[in-house]
Symmetry: C2
Subunit: 116 residues, 2 copies
């Protein structure tokens, strides 16, 4: 039980698309991630996917649509819906997924989601 | 499926301690709330309680400790742990709780958590 400062946690991260766990909530990982460039299209058949932009701008391709998310904006991709985040500069996000969910949709290519 | 701008949603709220649902995530309500003054001590026996400060400063009394949360800081109160937020000025928060959770810990006194 402690206060989690998101900027301080993000300052410790020097990789992209490598979510780091800052807290837990009912079996979910609460994570921060730095993002730059294009992530592969994927889906999560068993869970919704929560994105909140902390800094920067994220293009979220969801099916055939592209949504633009800026700081202070959130988006929930429903389970099973194919999506891909893209970032032209660099962005910082808060993510929530059930613990153990592969961020790429595939355990073989997923990040380790280590605590920070 | 749409982009949720937290500041725009909060601008529509003119009450305090009255969480409004902006999105859903795996059966959880994602809510914004304006807070001012002191909320009653309570606990949630069946769920953790997620707080993220968007604006302002929140004093979170948790058991015998007081934690100070500022914008960009989050705190998860584990299930069953007695807590009380207090706000000296006004604060704006993002909350996550399973749908149907009474915000006061008691259905008789809980907010309706209406969508916005």
């Amino acid at each position: 039980m402690k206060v989690i400062n998101l900027a301080e946690k993000l300052a410790l991260v020097d990789t992209h698309w490598d979510p780091r766990v800052v807290a837990g909530y009912n079996g979910n990982d609460i994570m921060v991630v730095k993002a730059k460039g294009e992530f592969p299209f994927h889906d999560h058949p068993d869970t919704d996917d929560f994105f909140l932009v902390i800094e920067g701008e994220v293009l979220l391709d969801v099916g055939d649509e592209t949504h633009v998310l800026r700081a202070g904006e959130l988006f929930v991709v429903p389970r099973g819906v194919r999506h891909r985040p893209r970032v032209l500069g660099e962005a910082k996000l808060l993510l929530i997924e059930p613990a153990g969910t592969p961020n790429t949709g595939d355990a073989a290519t997923a990040s380790r989601k280590e605590p920070i």
